[in-house]
Symmetry: C2
């Protein structure tokens, strides 16, 4: 086994250490070639069977015929319930829908460790029943409280002790984040990164990757799961040490501060990736940040939505059947049942309800560059499951079949038009495979010219990239769709000569 | 009428302008002498009658005999309901209690304006039925959505237009804040400060005060109401311009940046007030702030409380009677009814339910100085009405009769012991007089030596003062009790020779 150098002379901030890891495009423990073989091997190592079954055949779940509610016999995990939404503003709307209640806060956590000074993330090749191809790259631990209090009587998740016993690790990131407010009732997960203090035993299904390697995987479809992406969106990258340095000199600064051989670090060779990185490492302007928060307060004040719990059977335009809870026009999503047989999970076989979306989603962020800063267009997005109704979503957050053609959200056509702006990221990314069935949404980062949408509508706002990380460390500001796109900004590339495709000034 | 100078040459940050206003101990529009006469006059100008009446005699309110719920006939304002709390951690507890549902976000707002460059706050002498002496100094506007959509068919609140029409004003502060999570279900108010762009007509019951004058009033009992205090706690004071300056030179810097005659500004002549100000003007260290937020996430993750709505009549240990909803041992609080006759409110006469506490509260913050920084001891405080269960409360937040003597919260005896530390603030302050009946709680800021409680219990933490304002601009971090104490930090004074009263090192 290779002996890794000590790194006791690191004086850099955590942010600088994460930037260093992002610049390490090759792993010191797992090369990209080794990873590719290992991951394929993991995919093939286990046999998974996921078969749809009727809701009233879900073992250990109670499907209440009278109300249509579905709950686990222990009262844990989650409950499928209904809600009625009366929205008076920003626009008048009234609708019913199923919603998942998951009251307990789960852990989505990475263990990280320095090898030759470079932070590596311990990733898991994890099977989830809803994932396309089943296995994806996940955080080290991904566990609900029911998981780790072992309600299902399986074994405790590996490495959980690093998140519960603070003698084993040092906390680098720890924040509570919402998930899909259109489907979950006030769900929060703890997004956490801890640095192990000692050697970490490496188990099957786990391997060490740098942030640069994770960014590389984020360029591919359906490899890095949603839980990993949301945690990556919370990493601090604003490194005061890098203020005033040219990007070419970042490795020099990192070598001096973190004791990392600059030969291990690769400066992005495309303009977009470089511009994003430079924007992220520059600490946010306090007054500009406060300005954005004031806009958010005004949006929240302006939103008026009341949400009442109702039985699924009372939902207008939805039908509760034994095979599914479904919308009468086939829109939105269906709640179905699955039986899962997975040899390498804490418990090998189980049944559960799961949400199957009616169509592929489009999650797109427009970006622009103004005086060297990259800005993203965010929207004030009301969703019934959010504690404060409004969180900030990507420029476009749209499921085609949720809308009639005339009612598509603003900018959907622009985000779907390959001749509009430059597509730096254009991938399919899965949503949480433990709750959503084979959902992969189109993720797109589109660079536009500075002359487009100079004055956005009141519910949209151009936000400098370096304000997003401070938002992410506070709960309930950026929604999960925005956070996942934010995570993939490090994965953007610039097609040579693409600049001519900017939209023309009007 | 005096002509006030133009201030077009102000280049200072908003924070610097607020610091300048805090240093203006005398008003340019209303001197302290004029204010005292004016306020006394306002108190005497109107006749108020508040008389307790039975809950089933509240005009326009429905007291449901079967459930014990009380609601306004329009469904607006607020609802008196019941909740059952099952808390599994941090400690196992189970209890029932009444709770106020107030779903709509209200406005607590100050209009400010510069006179000779100095920001003045337009305060209102406002009557609330629950206030001791009825009239207190309030924000310019204090209105629920029901108020300003005129559900009660009264007139619209004065000056409301400055908060709704952004052509009239510039927003300086705008954040949503929680209120008493022990009594309100997820209540949020918009705490907002806007600077008027033009002359502002001055109506009866209103006058202009500097922040320095407000701080002076905060040294007195029951003069500045809770709504004013929570807004004042959100003012940005971290002025980058003042970094590296000695406090004696603040007026010089302010004169240069804000065009304010330095002769108008008074540097605090006591050590505690000066130390607090110096700590507040220094921008928070980003890494230290992130560390505090990580601690908060861990506390929130550790708290496990489920809250279920129940009918008041189902509440264990509470009795619903026609005169009150009361605890069987006389603890906590009672919900009673009042009939109000107030000539100068939007609507002259009304009835409402109101909460009467069983005992005076003690809200105390311990402070200490370490390497020039002032730190306050905050606690992770679970309350059933909070969206995230935990918000940060003052060191001691205690209603005597809520506890048996053996179960008093930590540090209550220390905070009540005049020989322990130095009491810089020791006032009685009212809580929201629109919902709470004659409640005035003891507010105390106590300076202790740096050798006391060096390692606080896990649910307590010493937090540098300059982290509290960034917390305040994000929602739901500091609870209202902590914010109100924070507002009164500018009102602290140091008794000469008091240093000998520090607790001895152990």
């Amino acid at each position: 086994m290779k002996a890794y150098g000590l790194t006791s002379r690191c004086t850099g901030s955590d942010a600088l250490c994460f930037v260093a890891s992002a610049l390490a495009s090759q792993g010191l423990v797992t090369t990209n070639q080794v990873f590719a073989r290992w991951f394929q091997d993991r995919v093939e190592a286990h046999r998974f069977v996921v078969e749809p079954i009727a809701l009233n055949e879900l073992d250990r779940w109670r499907f209440d015929q009278a109300t249509g509610r579905i709950a686990h016999e222990t009262g844990k995990f989650f409950v499928v319930d209904g809600v009625r939404i009366e929205q008076r503003s920003p626009e008048r709307l009234s609708w019913d829908q199923p919603i998942l209640h998951q009251a307990e806060i789960g852990i989505l956590g990475f263990v990280v460790k320095r090898f030759d000074g470079v932070l590596h993330f311990l990733v898991q090749a994890k099977m989830e029943p809803g994932n396309l191809h089943y296995v994806q790259v996940s955080p080290t631990v991904q566990a609900t409280r029911s998981n780790f209090t072992r309600v299902h009587q399986g074994r405790a998740p590996d490495y959980l002790e690093y998140f519960l016993d603070m003698r084993l690790s040092r906390v680098m990131v720890d924040c509570l984040q919402s998930e899909q407010g259109s489907r979950f009732w006030r769900k929060l997960n703890r997004n956490i990164v801890v640095e192990a203090q000692e050697d970490v035993p490496l188990r099957d299904d786990y391997c060490w990757l740098t942030l640069g390697q994770l960014n590389h995987l984020l360029r591919q479809d359906n490899v890095v799961n949603m839980d990993a992406r949301t945690v990556l969106s919370c990493l601090p990258l604003a490194a005061p040490e890098l203020e005033g340095w040219f990007i070419e000199d970042y490795p020099k600064c990192i070598e001096a501060q973190c004791g990392i051989d600059r030969g291990l670090l690769r400066v992005p060779d495309n303009l977009f990736e470089a511009a994003c990185l430079m924007s992220l490492v520059c600490p946010a302007n306090a007054e500009a940040y406060a300005h954005t928060l004031r806009w958010l307060s005004r949006q929240r004040f302006g939103a008026d939505q009341s949400v009442t719990s109702i039985a699924p059977r009372e939902m207008r335009n939805w039908t509760v059947r034994s095979d599914a809870i479904a919308h009468d026009e086939g829109r939105f999503f269906r709640v179905i049942g699955v039986r899962v047989d997975a040899a390498n999970r804490e418990i090998g076989t189980w049944c559960q309800p799961i949400v199957q979306p009616a169509s592929e989603g489009l999650m797109a962020c427009f970006t622009r560059q103004t005086s060297g800063q990259v800005e993203v267009l965010l929207q004030s997005k009301p969703e019934p499951g959010n504690a404060d109704t409004i969180e900030l979503g990507p420029s476009v957050q749209c499921f085609r079949r949720d809308h009639r053609e005339a009612d598509l959200p603003s900018f959907t056509h622009d985000a779907d038009n390959p001749d509009f702006g430059i597509w730096h990221v254009n991938t399919l990314q899965s949503e949480e495979g433990g709750r959503f069935y084979r959902e992969a949404n189109r993720n797109r980062i589109i660079e536009v010219g500075g002359d487009w949408l100079v004055e956005p509508p009141d519910s949209y706002r151009w936000v400098p990239l370096n304000q997003l990380r401070p938002m992410a460390v506070h709960s309930r500001i950026l929604n999960v769709e925005a956070r996942c796109l934010l995570a993939s900004l490090g994965a953007g590339t610039l097609a040579e000569g693409a600049r001519s495709r900017y939209p023309c000034p009007k």
